[in-house]
């Protein structure tokens, strides 16, 4: 309840949700959350299970998800596109603001949904590893203490389908995309009126925040009439209340006029944090969810990153293996990168849902973006001494030279 289905193909362990979408072969069903409820001033409480967490599903309405970009900004953009694509299929309103690529170009690159009912991966597969009726036949005799421990599951097992699946190799068809109500903010096309003279906000950020106040739209659909924030859907009483998904790629980059990523002591050190505070104010009072990506690897000052993280509700960091020596590390051979959970939200309660496992790795397959628990496989080698692959490779290279440090066998 009050949840927005998360970016898709993400195999989080998820709870059944009221907003499970029905997918038909030649049509798609628009499904709005029956009673979307913002967190704050409307006084409705989102139940704890509605919070987004690796062990759950969905993003709570009224929160911000911060994604710290991977070095080449490929996977973080992918997650953002999943988020927007899911919004298209759910019938939510979209708002995309960008300083680099035109938002329309970003929207043309949304992945195509897979509209078949048969998923590429059975969600129940994870469960089968627990080994139900066969367990009694394999009762352990020596290691009986380990009998009742679950077998290692890499997959964060999902009990039900939640959201859609997408095919990354294909683009979403224009008919599907244009059915969604999308508002674009492209910074170069925006005349930035000067912000308040002493405000820490940059002109670009204040333009973004004040966009809706001066924005008027005459065509059908859109925010007519009162000078409400675009993110506040309260004036649209006639229409059913809808959720607005906000995508903000590469916020804080120099293209926004911010020097946070360029200098150790930036002149506009508080512009982004002030903007994030304003964004939180907006989201808490409206039916919106925001996903933003920040090139944190460019920010030298860790304290600033800490402030930025605290002003968001959810925060994750993607670390891709591309271009690093981890790409060839046998431990990571099945994955494309690591996912670090920096912060989980506390929504109207004392408790947060802490993730079960903090070592998470992701891989982007054609039809799925999988996030799994990273663990060492059991060493099944036949040799008594555990020789790592690196040592084996070294021994092979040195050949039969004796006296070398890589030679493990003593010859007398």
């Amino acid at each position: 309840m009050g949840m927005v289905p998360d970016s898709l193909g993400v195999r989080w362990h998820s709870l059944p949700c009221q907003s499970i979408l029905l997918i038909h072969r030649h049509a798609w069903a628009q499904c709005l959350n029956p009673r979307p409820s913002p967190i704050s001033t409307y006084g409705l409480i989102i139940p704890l299970s509605g919070g987004w967490r690796p062990g759950g599903g969905g993003l709570a309405v009224g929160t911000v998800l911060l994604i710290e970009e991977d070095r080449y900004n490929s996977y973080s953009q992918m997650v953002l596109k999943y988020f927007m694509a899911e919004g298209v299929l759910c019938g939510h309103e979209l708002f995309l603001a960008s300083a680099q690529d035109h938002p329309d170009d970003i929207l043309t690159e949304l992945p195509a949904p897979i509209l078949d009912d048969i998923a590429s991966h059975s969600p129940m597969e994870g469960r089968m590893q627990l080994g139900g009726p066969h367990a009694s036949q394999d009762a352990m005799k020596i290691a009986w203490r380990y009998q009742n421990l679950p077998k290692v599951q890499t997959a964060l097992a999902s009990s039900s389908r939640f959201g859609h699946y997408y095919d990354v190799s294909k683009k979403m068809e224009p008919e599907i995309r244009q059915a969604a109500n999308c508002h674009a903010f492209y910074l170069p096309e925006h005349s930035t009126e000067s912000s308040a003279p002493h405000s820490p906000l940059l002109e670009s950020y204040s333009a973004l925040l004040s966009w809706g106040i001066s924005y008027r739209r005459d065509s059908d659909g859109g925010f007519k009439g009162t000078a409400a924030h675009p993110f506040s859907l309260a004036p649209l009483a006639a229409k059913s209340r809808n959720v607005l998904r906000i995508g903000l790629p590469s916020l804080g980059s120099p293209l926004w006029g911010d020097d946070l990523c360029c200098r150790d002591n930036p002149a506009h050190g508080h512009a982004l944090t002030t903007f994030l505070y304003g964004l939180r104010a907006v989201l808490r009072s409206s039916l919106s969810v925001a996903v933003l990506t920040i090139p944190s690897h460019l920010i030298q000052n860790r304290a600033v990153m800490g402030n930025i993280t605290r002003l968001c509700d959810n925060a994750i960091a993607l670390e891709s293996f591309k271009g690093s020596d981890r790409e060839t590390n046998p431990l990571y051979k099945d994955y494309h990168g690591l996912l670090h959970v920096r912060q989980v939200p506390r929504l109207n309660c004392l408790l947060t849902e802490l993730p079960d496992h903090k070592d998470l790795a992701f891989k982007l397959k054609r039809k799925q973006f999988t996030i799994e628990r990273l663990h060492l496989p059991p060493d099944l080698s036949e040799t008594v001494s555990r020789v790592s692959r690196g040592e084996l490779a070294g021994a092979a290279a040195t050949g039969t030279s004796c006296g070398s440090s890589g030679n493990k066998h003593l010859d007398f």
């Binding site: 409307y42 304003g278 402030n307």
Partner: protein, 281 residues
Amino acid sequence: MFPELNAILNTSPDNFKQGELILVSDRRADASFLVHHFLSFYLKAGCKVCFLGLAQSFSHYSAVSQRLGVSLTQAKEKGQLIFLEVLNESLDVLLQKTSNTKSQALDFLRDPAVGLRGLYDFVRASVSDSGVGGEDDGGVGTVGRWGPPVLLVDDLTVLLSLGVSVGSVLDFSHYCFVTVCSQLKGNMVTLVRCEGEEDEDEDGDEEGSERLLKGLTHQCCLTLHVQGLPTGFCRDIHGQVEVCWRKTQKDKPSNQRKLFQYKVHDKGASFFARGTSSAVL
């Protein structure tokens, strides 16, 4: 409020020390659960509470306090709680170009260089209405209705993020301390959040929240410092709290420190000595 924490601090809603500045801080952890504790504690004690809610919206605090047995909405209606919900009013002020006399308390949003004078005036006006200590204004019927005033700030680091200088924040907290704690014999609780290691060398230019922490630590009577476990992440133990009493008696300043581990539940938090978590025993 958390009964175990009351036992550790040797306080109760019927019997607590007045004129104290309590500093709650955290380092790479989240100490906001302690703010909820103090909020419900002082409301149950019948104090007049002024709460500066900078980090979250009113309904968040209200929802949590409900679980702790206190209704913020009722307290507000009765006049016991004065709640400044900065988030709600910030958007208009952030985009304002000129100062508005109505919202001078939030002037720092529009122009951080102005400082926190407006916010201090708001605090002083809120706590002076309590009619405590013979300062009632012409006997309008509010004499001694509530206990000593209490100021709670959640949290000061947000002010730093919004561009306010460390000096302004330290001045603000000093003025509030003098007004609330010294003059009105009330209490003050503030939250400061830090990032990074304690002894990191910042090349001589110390980061804002570290300086703020040091300045407030010097001034306060009681600190509660929340950190993660030094051994790493654990689901059953959420972190450790270091409680430090300073200046227990005026003539004999002494620093007493105690370290506890804690776990946050849905309706409270439990504190226990290191190594005695129920998950471990």
